[in-house]
């Protein structure tokens, strides 16, 4: 707040004041800094002085002590008081007795006593630091108020001195303050001088410039300023002068322009007004505006345009004005009625344009008016005349037109446009367009006429023509025309009329059409055959329907007699007598049914109505209208048959069947149901469940009926019912079906029931049995899975434990052979070799057995396996054996991808290859042939050898475990290999089989699923 007030001071005060304050603050600050320094300097000065003085005194005092001159000693001590600021000085003899002091009374006293009683700060001497012998020690005391000095002298004497520090410090401070005041006074003088200087060269001129700018702002455009000098202020002054000159020139130009515009405004031929856009007041109007409205200038200024505008035109104008204010339109022009001062209504053309800049708040707009009353009245008169003519034309249905042959242009009266459904604003259409408005059938003819007119023909054929059906109802127009010629007889223009003759034309057409339609109806009536007969029964007329019914064409039928049409002579007589009867009485007969004959001889049933109509001459025409009802009669017969079938079914069905009305009243039942309730159907009709069964049962039946009716679907229930005669209870399975007639209306509930008492009992016992069975299956499954587990651990034990003793037997046999071989005869050695062979065989058997059981237990993984690759792998593994036995491997396996267990496939192929190698070893040379193909989506692989083969009667045995066809000496083996192959193939959903004959080799086939 203070700062803001300070800133609002004028610069001429603020600047010197700020300089002064800053200078004073610097001096004061400097003083503060120095003051801290003074104390240290004073202490050091005084200490120096005291040390120097005491140093001088030391030798003097020592001499005096040695010479034992107490008086001089006492004086020398007292003289220490001459030294400024020394307040205490004591010379003590050894033992503390004072032998010299500034105060005489102290002599002979004990120093501690004196100091304890001292009030001028002497007590500090008690704390003074003791100096070593013959030395001097001067210290500032703890309160920094004094210096203490202690000097050791000859013979154990000591000099104690205290010098005051407070007074020298005060003196120094006083001197410093005087200097400060002097500096301050000097600074104030300088500030005054500076203010004066600034005022003269800067602030005074700035004020001149301010005054000039203010004057310019108040409109004195001739104001100029002369500041002198060359500084920034002088530059501003010169710029100000330039600006003032320019402004003065612009102002003069503006005045001139305004004068010109005002003259234009006043003398313009139209009324011009500036109007307040918000209130509608006239701000200024020119002479012409006042003249048009009859008011003088002063009147106008009191008025607003709303008062002067006719109330019917005002809303329109206000709406446009609003649009103008919103910026939707840039300007508008309307014709409106205004009130003249004398009360007359005058027509004016008004143009309004805004005076505000786009985007700014609307303030004034410019209104330009022109008196158009006279023109308007003339137009009104003309319009009235035209309306009368139009009305006359409209009433008469007459249009008039003109056509200028030379220019090709035309004129149409309003009625003409009405005929063709055109908008009069579009003007008379061009000939091409006009033709399109006509009925397509008439266009060519009228185009010819128009062509003649364009050539200026005087004689033109005129016909009634029609308008196009696309543009509303078709009109028939009759043209008339006359030519207007110039002096030379040349046609200048054609004038003519079009008369609407639609009604007359259409009435004539309608009459003709009605007759044709009647005949067509008769001819084409699809199902109704109509024949006319004369009194003798001969055909006079034969419509299309008759042809369809009887098969005769009209030409063939006309002239034939009744006998050819009827199926039997009796029917013909009957029909003929009917004809005679209507001919006599004139009354119609029927509808009645007759059996007639088709042309192909087949019988047809008809339903015919016979009546007579007057003929051209005296004899009446006998009309027969007949309908083929053969299909209907057949259908009726079929329905009757079906009904009989259903009845029979209903009666003989072993199930109970009944029908109840929606209210539960019995409508029908079959014999089985009769037996249930011991009533005949006739006795049952009209009764309800409540009369036949107990209330509980009846309630239940009804609720099921209602459910079926409510849901509209079959309701299947089980209902206990008590037999009426035996009282035995019976379980019925009932199906309740809502019955509807052809119209979908509910007519009842059909019930079908079957005795399921026994069935239910059987079902219950079956369920019981089933439960028992399931339990047994579960038990078996458990037992099986236990057995599997046992087998697994057995196999494990076999793999491990059976092999250990074998190893022992073999090992010790070997050791026996090696270590004790020399003590065994040949037979003993052979026995040992046999033992070793036995263990080897046993070992092979165990390994195969393990492999077999593993194949049974292992879970197989189906993956993509390339048969060709597996075959190559297996062949590579046996390459040494193959090479050793010089076996030829024939055939290549293409890459066939199957989904199978990789290890399983490899094991199968290995076993089959080993077999092939083993059994063909005696062939010369051994040949193993491989072949693979895909057949019916299954991969097929065969391995053929040219070995010893086998009899096909052993085909099944070779795949069984431990089954062998050869002695071990001939072909070693365990009898497990092929069993393993079959097991693996079975587990992979594949198949293995063999083909062979003794001595002719063997072929093993493998089939894998794709």
């Amino acid at each position: 707040m203070t700062l803001r007030r300070l800133m609002s001071l004028p610069a001429r005060t603020l600047v010197p004041a700020l300089i002064t304050v800053v200078a004073l603050m610097m001096v004061g600050f400097d003083h503060m800094l120095q003051r801290a320094d003074y104390r240290l300097r004073v202490e050091q000065e005084q200490k120096q002085l005291l040390v120097e003085r005491l140093g001088i005194e030391q030798s003097n005092l020592d001499q005096l002590i040695l010479q034992n001159r107490p008086l001089q000693l006492r004086r020398a001590v007292a003289e220490l008081a001459l030294r400024p600021h020394v307040t205490h000085a004591y010379l003590t003899a050894p033992g503390g007795r004072i032998v010299g002091s500034l105060v005489r009374a102290d002599l002979g006293q004990s120093l501690p006593d004196i100091l304890a009683a001292d009030t001028r700060g002497g007590a500090v001497l008690l704390d003074a630091a003791r100096a070593p012998d013959n030395s001097l020690r001067v210290e500032v005391d703890a309160s920094r108020a004094a210096l203490t000095g202690l000097m050791a002298l000859e013979g154990g004497h000591q000099l104690w001195v205290r010098s005051d520090l407070i007074q020298p410090f005060s003196e120094r401070l006083h001197a410093s303050r005087i200097e400060l005041s002097r500096h301050a006074a000097l600074i104030l003088c300088w500030s005054l001088l500076l203010s004066l200087f600034l005022h003269l060269i800067w602030f005074r001129r700035a004020e001149q410039l301010t005054n000039a700018a203010r004057a310019l702002g108040q409109g004195r455009l001739d104001t100029r300023v002369d500041l002198g000098g060359r500084d920034e202020l002088a530059e501003i002054g010169r710029a100000f002068n330039d600006m003032a000159v320019r402004l003065q020139a612009q102002h003069a130009a503006l005045l001139d322009s305004e004068r010109q515009f005002r003259a234009m405004f006043e003398q313009a031929g139209v009324g011009v007004a500036r109007i307040d856009s918000r209130l509608g007041h006239f701000m200024s109007v020119n002479k012409k505006y006042s003249e048009i409205l009859g008011y003088d200038d002063a009147d106008m200024r009191r008025l607003d345009f709303m008062h002067l505008t006719h109330p019917e035109d005002l809303p329109g104008q206000l709406a446009l004005l609003e649009a103008l204010k919103r910026g939707d339109i840039r300007e508008f022009s309307i014709e409106k009625r205004a009130f003249h001062k004398d009360g007359r209504v005058i027509w004016v053309a008004l143009s309004v344009s805004p005076l505000w800049a786009p985007g700014t708040e609307p303030d004034y707009h410019l209104a330009v008016i022109q008196d158009i009353t006279a023109r308007h009245e003339a137009e009104q008169a003309l319009k009235l005349e035209r309306n009368r003519l139009s009305a006359a034309e409209r009433i008469a249905g007459l249009g008039s037109w003109e056509f200028h042959a030379t220019t090709g242009s035309g004129w149409w009266s309003e009625q003409m446009f009405a005929f063709f459904g055109l908008d009069p604003a579009g003007g008379a259409p061009e000939p091409e367009h006009f033709l399109k408005l006509l009925h397509p059938e008439d266009r060519e003819r009228v185009a010819g006429v128009l062509g003649l007119l364009a050539q200026g023909a005087t004689d033109v054929p005129l016909h009634v023509y029609r308008t196009s059906p696309d543009a509303g109802p078709v009109r028939h127009l009759r043209p008339s025309m006359h030519c207007v010629t110039d002096d030379a007889g040349k046609v200048v223009k054609y004038a003519g009329t079009l008369l609407d003759v639609t009604e007359v034309t259409e009435a004539a057409l309608a009459l003709r059409g009605s007759e044709e339609r009647l005949r067509a109806t008769l001819e084409q009536a699809p199902n109704v055959a109509v024949q006319w007969f004369d009194a003798a029964g001969r055909v006079l007329y034969w419509n299309g329907g008759s042809t369809r019914l009887y098969g005769w064409l009209p030409d063939e039928a006309i002239g034939r007699s009744v006998e050819t049409l009827m199926h039997t002579p009796e029917e013909a007589d009957l029909f003929r007598s009917s004809l005679v009867q209507i001919a006599r009485t004139g009354q119609s007969i029927g509808p009645s049914e007759y059996l007639v004959k088709h042309r192909d001889g087949s019988p047809r049933w008809i339903e015919a109505t016979l009546f007579s109509i007057p003929g051209l001459d005296e004899a009446p025409i006998l009309v027969c209208m007949d309908v083929d009802i053969t299909a209907r009669r057949n259908a009726e017969r079929t329905v009757e048959q079906e009904r009989t079938h259903l009845r029979t079914l209903f009666a003989t069905l072993p199930d109970l069947v009944w029908l109840k009305s929606p209210e539960g009243v019995y409508l029908s039942c079959n014999r089985q149901f009769e037996r249930l309730c011991c009533l005949t159907e006739a006795e049952l009709l009209g009764r309800t469940d409540y009369e036949l069964f107990s209330k509980e049962e009846a309630d239940q039946f009804r609720s099921h009926d209602e459910r079926a009716m409510r849901t509209g679907q079959n309701s299947i229930n089980e209902e206990w019912v008590t037999m009426r005669d035996t009282g035995e209870r019976m379980l019925l399975q009932t199906i309740k079906t809502p019955m509807r007639d052809a119209g979908g209306k509910l007519v009842g509930v059909l019930g079908i029931a079957r005795d399921i008492t026994e069935f239910r009992e059987t079902q219950d016992s079956l369920r019981e049995l089933n439960r028992d069975l399931e339990q047994r299956v579960a038990d078996r499954t458990q037992a099986l899975s236990d057995a599997m587990k046992e087998l697994e651990s057995f196999s494990y034990a076999v793999s491990h434990d059976l092999k250990a003793p074998l190893r022992g037997i073999d090992g010790y046999s070997k050791i026996l052979l090696e270590d004790y071989g020399d003590r065994l005869d040949e037979q003993g050695q052979r026995f040992l070799a046999n033992i070793r062979n036995g263990t080897r065989q046993m070992h092979a058997l165990i390994e195969d057995l393990l492999a077999y059981s593993r194949m049974e237990r292992r879970s197989l993984e189906a993956s993509r396996v390339d048969l060709g690759e597996v075959v190559r792998t297996v062949l590579n593994r046996r390459s040494d054996e193959i090479a050793a036995a010089s076996v030829q491997i024939v055939g290549e396996i293409p890459p066939i991808i199957i989904r199978a267990d990789h290890q399983g496939v490899e094991m199968v192929l290995r076993n089959l290859l080993d077999n092939a190698l083993k059994f063909s070893r005696d062939a010369h040379p051994p040949v193993v042939t491989l072949h693979a193909a895909v057949r019916d989506g299954r991969a097929h692989l065969s391995i053929r050898d040219n070995g010893i083969g086998f009899d096909m009667k052993y085909h099944e045995r070779i795949f069984e475990i431990f089954q062998r066809l050869h002695r071990n000496e001939d072909f070693s083996g365990t009898g497990v290999g092929l069993a393993l192959v079959r097991k693996a193939m079975q587990r992979m959903d594949g198949r293995v089989w063999a083909e062979s004959a003794p001595g002719e080799g063997a072929t093993f086939h493998l089939e894998f699923p794709a």
Partner: protein, 147 residues
């Protein structure tokens, strides 16, 4: 050190963990035929094998190779293997499973516990001697254990 010239007396001992006396005898005999193999120490069951571990902790020289059977009375071979491979120091002693079992399950268990090798004991003694010879050559001549 040049492996080929290593004196046989310096060969570290072999620990055989096996319960079947016949197998122990045969194994010892087989190694006795191998001039490079060190002395064979025998643990007759899993407990004893684990006791051996404590003795190595106390300063007895640990073996250069452990031959381990799976089916042992009491603590079985896989458990011995688990504890051995958990030991901060002795885990680096190579362990060779020497078992009659070629069951996939046993192989998977042994390898997942970090066995160094798994050899199915051949029933044929000639091949058994050959196998022990190969074990000795591999683990004492070719293989470089951490020192």
């Amino acid at each position: 050190m040049n492996l080929a010239t290593r004196p046989s007396s310096a060969a570290p001992p072999i620990l055989l963990v096996e319960d079947n006396p016949v197998d122990i005898d045969l194994t010892c005999r087989a190694f006795a035929r191998d001039p490079l193999a060190g002395p064979v120490h025998v643990a007759r069951d899993g407990e004893t094998a684990l006791d051996f571990m404590q003795r190595w902790d106390k300063g007895e020289p640990p073996p250069g190779l452990i031959l381990l059977d799976i089916n042992l009375p009491g603590v079985n071979g896989l458990e011995v293997l688990r504890q051995l491979k958990r030991h901060p120091v002795h885990r680096s002693i190579p362990v060779v499973m020497l078992s009659s079992s070629a069951e996939q399950r046993d192989l998977l268990d042994a390898y997942s516990l970090g066995v160094n090798s798994y050899i199915v004991k051949p029933v044929d003694f000639d091949r058994f001697v050959e196998a022990t010879g190969q074990i000795g050559r591999y683990w004492f001549e070719l293989n470089q254990p951490p020192i």
